[in-house]
């Protein structure tokens, strides 16, 4: 896309501003090519290292561009604090996912180069998505994000559940994309513009109750809700999360969700801000449904991945509530919660992956039973992650929820704050169940597992055949992210400073 644009001599391209994207795409190509080399060492060690290097470069370049606010390809993309913070988030999630899948099954089965190249490509798509300034780039970014993910879900080719997960995600994701693009087309039809700012200007000049426009807005919302797994468009989430390789699930749960909310913020608070009287009630209703459906759905789950999938639906509801208020405070609370959400979820997933490899129980809750006595270095991160997800003080989860509630109350949505609180109450039941399993139940006897060669627990144990004991990087990820969760729970001011300016670009419209 960039090369083509350069040849046309059309738009001015700010290469410096686009440098994070260049690092991602360049890294993707290099990783793909290096992955073709024969030696095992290169494929299994050098390729992930290169991936991490590329993501590290992305973070470095993002920090280099910090506080710049320029259009990159004459209006198609723009770099601002929102996009840069999001990029940090994606790159952080990417590094974590790379470490989590380093000695995992998925990259081995699907060729290492392909796996990591796809992941970098997906992150590049996320960057385009959150930096998009018109509806065309938005759609390109969304597809660039989604298509690698469809493949990544299916990378454990020998396992039916993984293939099914990829297929399901492909079909549902395509429906979501189609809805979105149809909605974008209708908005273009109603306003005659593709730029976010131009559309916003057109709406403010009195098109706000145009039926064509309203239909477009509704379809765009539905399309984005598919991506962010907002109920009632969430049904794919548990199945896909459960079937996909766990590192991919972790990556999807945090990065894709963050990308979806990043673009949701920009679309609603910039492009459609003139329509807010129409979309605010709809979003409030969706947030309420999502919080309830997610939390109730998670209650009876025995599979940890399914439980976290429903929990991610519930958390998406909380985040959506922050979007709903459509104030600068709300946008900041949303961003802050996305960061917090990343920290606590990665910690949880790292522990789940470690247990998948060490026990024959897969992602069943039995896999973590008795973990407190067996390996406290995994038990504490999981405990902290669950407490943080439940919003207990001294964890970043509490700060995130606190900020969200105060944004809701000051935005006049006290009732939604109460819904959020009620949702949190329900969520305690399933988060604490995990903690109870970790600390209060003995480890299940090994006899059941070894008796049968094939894993017998539902969901399988896709990673069990990777030699146990090689878990240092998993423990490392779990501890780092859990420590960050606690650190930002006690010293949250850096997070507040980080998101302080991010909403400024939006606030012009708010």
């Amino acid at each position: 896309m960039i090369a083509a644009a350069a040849q046309l001599h059309g738009p001015h391209i700010n290469w410096a501003a686009l440098s994070p994207l260049e690092a991602l795409i360049g890294g993707s190509v290099i990783v793909l090519l290096v992955g073709l080399l024969r030696p095992r060492f290169i494929r299994e060690q050098v390729v992930p290292a290169l991936t991490v290097l590329s993501l590290g470069a992305t973070i470095g370049l993002t920090l280099w561009q910090w506080h710049t606010h320029v259009a990159a390809i004459s209006g198609a993309l723009a770099i601002d604090d929102l996009a840069l913070i999001m990029t940090l988030l994606f790159a952080g999630a990417g590094i974590a996912a790379t470490l989590l899948s380093w000695r995992g099954l998925a990259p081995r089965v699907s060729a290492h180069g392909d796996f990591y190249a796809l992941m970098l490509g997906s992150i590049a798509g996320m960057f385009v998505l959150v930096a998009a300034q018109n509806i065309i780039t938005l759609f390109i970014g969304l597809e660039l994000l989604s298509i690698p993910l469809y493949v990544l879900c299916a990378t454990e080719m020998h396992r039916a559940a993984s293939l099914e997960s990829g297929l399901k995600y492909l079909i549902i994701g395509s429906v979501g994309s189609a809805t979105l693009v149809y909605g974008l087309a209708l908005i273009y039809g109603a306003t005659g513009a593709t730029d976010f700012s131009a559309i916003a200007a057109s709406i403010s000049h009195g098109h706000s109750s145009d039926t064509l426009l309203l239909t477009g807005v509704a379809l765009v919302l539905v399309g984005l809700c598919f991506k962010a797994s907002i109920a009632p468009f969430h049904q794919w989430t548990p199945d896909v999360y459960e079937g996909a390789p766990t590192p991919v699930t972790a990556f999807m749960a945090v990065a894709t969700k963050a990308a979806a909310f990043g673009v949701l913020l920009r679309v609603l608070d910039v492009m459609l801000i003139g329509e807010r009287s129409n979309w605010k009630p709809a979003l409030a209703a969706l947030a309420t449904i999502t919080i309830i459906v997610g939390n109730v759905g998670a209650l009876g789950q025995a599979s940890l991945k399914r439980m976290l999938a429903y929990s991610s639906v519930a958390q998406a509801g909380y985040i959506l509530a922050g979007v709903t208020v459509a104030t600068e405070l709300g946008a900041r609370a949303t961003l802050l919660y996305l960061i917090v959400y990343l920290l606590m979820n990665i910690a949880a997933f790292a522990v789940i992956i470690a247990r998948e490899r060490a026990t024959p129980y897969g992602d069943d809750i039995d896999a973590v039973a008795g973990l407190g006595a067996e390996s406290p270095w995994l038990a504490w991160p999981l405990t902290i992650a669950m407490l943080a997800l439940a919003g207990i003080p001294a964890t970043a989860g509490f700060i995130g929820k606190f900020f969200l509630i105060s944004a809701l109350v000051s935005g006049g949505y006290t009732w939604l704050a109460i819904v959020l609180v009620v949702g949190s109450m329900i969520s305690l039941a399933y988060y604490l169940r995990v903690i109870a399993a970790v600390w209060m139940r003995p480890a299940p006897g090994p006899s059941i597992a070894t008796a049968v060669g094939v894993p017998i627990i539902a969901g399988g144990s896709p990673e069990a055949d990777v030699a146990a004991g090689q878990q240092l990087e998993l423990t490392f990820v779990a501890i780092v992210f859990a420590a960050a969760t606690v650190f930002f729970g006690i010293v949250p001011q850096p997070l507040f400073d980080l998101v302080q300016h991010s909403a400024h670009t939006l606030s012009g419209a708010l």
Partner: protein
């Protein structure tokens, strides 16, 4: 200074948890708790009680963007509650050191963390900080109960956590709403400082629904009558050392929350809901007492008697009279230092009755173990508020205060005092005299355990002869805490009088 007081136990235990030796963790936790107790004694000695101003104030920005401060302060209201907390924790941790625990390092870490959280709750002068400590407090107890508790601990933890967290989360919403709406009301930037919130109360209607959110959290924590569903299971399953501080200290946090937060920041709502709260408290007194003399499990008897006692305390607070509130604060401390040794003794008795908490399995120990019997007798007398005990002074003041403002409640509540003597003596007689139980092995109390109980008895004796130690220091602060309500009720009364005329 106050920060050291709060974090010393947790820090010491954290060091203990990182040292791999077995015994060290418990001793370090004890050392940390002792350090806090030492600081507290120093604070009591240095506190005059001449003004209502906070002393030893720590105030630094915690989350600037939300106006949340790490703000601690000491006044007559929390001084003795802090003292009671450090005191009980020292002795409970000492008692816990006399037993072997599985995974002892984690155990003592959680125990000390609990102490830090409770102290933080008592000392916090910022609403958000209070809420944070209030919620944090529950996590160590949740794990202590769930990992080291009795056979039915899983169900017990679930009930405990669901009840109390539901209350906590409601309070969280209430706290945020209170601060946000106050800042909108006054036009100042948002602040959670209690002094700011108290300076500009909200409209009465707004106050009322926020009051209900707070009341839910505090009444569950106490527990008060209809919200006590978690209590029996949790009390039955918790290790006695943990239960001693849980019942002795944590139940006071709810009552303290009313005095520190609800009454100063929501005066109109407090007056509005005076009668319902008094009714709930009265129901707690009667229900708690009635249950206490029908139960046979010694822990539950003590538990239900706690419900009754907390009912008394709440009655005292919501009497909106000086004596009532003072009696309530005194009684909080008294109850803490009485119920903690009570549970420890019950633990000893159960160990002598083949591990059963049932008073029908006990009995006949008194002649063989006279010292244990004497300890128990003193604690029993204190529980039933014998004249001459500190509890007598406390209950007397509460009833006196209540008599002045709400005479009918006072008269009914008095039956609770009578019932207390019935159930307390019943436990004592059943456990100490009567026939020897089938599996009872009468052993005298060990010297080391005796040394743990002795300070409790000394404290009971101290407050019996010299309650002025506390009353003198807390008087001003307590009176200030209920000043708004007193003024409001008097205004209403004069208005009502004028209308009648």
């Amino acid at each position: 200074m106050l920060s050291i007081l709060i974090w010393l136990p947790a820090a010491a235990a954290l060091v203990g948890a990182l040292i791999p030796a077995r015994r060290v963790a418990g001793l370090l936790a004890l050392g940390g708790a002792l350090g806090s107790l030492g600081i507290t004694i120093g604070l009591i000695a240095g506190y005059s009680g001449h003004s209502t101003r906070l002393t030893h104030v720590t105030n630094v920005d915690w989350i600037r963007s939300l106006g949340i401060h790490y703000s601690l302060g000491l006044d007559g209201l929390n001084l003795f509650l802090v003292a009671m907390t450090t005191f009980s924790f020292v002795l409970a941790i000492a008692a816990a050191n006399l037993r072997d625990w599985e995974r002892s390092r984690v155990f003592f870490l959680l125990f000390a963390l609990a102490e830090s959280a409770v102290l933080g709750t008592f000392l916090a002068q910022d609403l958000a900080l209070f809420v944070a400590f209030f919620d944090l407090m529950l996590i160590p107890f949740y794990l202590l109960l769930g990992v080291w508790g009795g056979p039915n601990r899983i169900a017990a933890t679930l009930k405990l956590v669901l009840y109390t967290f539901v209350g906590s989360l409601l309070m969280l919403a209430g706290a945020i709403a209170l601060a946000v709406l106050t800042s909108e009301h006054t036009g100042h930037p948002i602040s959670f400082a209690l002094s700011t919130l108290a300076a500009s109360p909200l409209h009465k209607g707004t106050q009322e629904w926020i009051f209900l959110l707070f009341a839910a959290a505090f009444l569950v924590k106490m527990p008060a009558f209809p919200l006590h569903g978690w209590m029996p299971d949790a009390y039955r399953e918790m290790p006695v050392e943990v239960l001693a501080v849980f019942s002795g200290v944590l139940s006071k946090v709810g009552a303290y929350g009313f005095l520190r937060i609800v009454l100063p920041t929501m005066p109109a709502a407090s007056v509005h809901f005076q009668t319902p709260i008094l009714l709930i408290s009265l129901a707690s007194v009667i229900y708690g007492s009635a249950m206490a003399f029908t139960q046979t499990n010694a822990r539950l008897i003590a538990g239900y008697s706690s419900i009754a006692q907390l009912g008394f305390i709440t009655l005292g607070i919501f009497a909106f009279a000086d004596q009532g509130a003072q009696g309530a604060v005194l009684q909080m401390v008294n109850h803490g230092i009485v119920v903690a040794p009570l549970f420890l003794i019950i633990g000893l008795l159960a160990a002598r009755a083949g591990g059963s908490d049932d008073i029908r399995d006990m009995g006949g120990i008194a002649t063989r173990a006279p010292i244990l019997a004497t300890c128990f007798l003193i604690v029993t007398f204190a529980t039933l508020a014998m004249p001459g005990s500190g509890n007598f002074v406390g209950e007397f003041l509460i009833l006196l205060g209540l008599f002045k403002t709400k005479m009918v409640f006072s008269i009914i509540a008095f039956t609770g005092v009578v019932m207390a003597s019935v159930y307390a003596l019943r436990v004592f007689i059943r456990a100490m005299h009567n026939r020897v139980g089938p599996q009872v092995q009468s052993r005298e109390i060990s010297l080391r355990y005796g040394l743990v109980l002795a300070p409790f008895l000394a404290a009971i004796a101290l407050f019996a002869v010299y309650p002025q130690l506390q009353l003198g220091r807390s008087e001003k602060s307590v009176t200030a805490a209920i000043a708004h309500e007193k003024a409001l009720t008097q205004t209403y009364d004069t208005l009502a009088g004028a209308i009648k005329k």
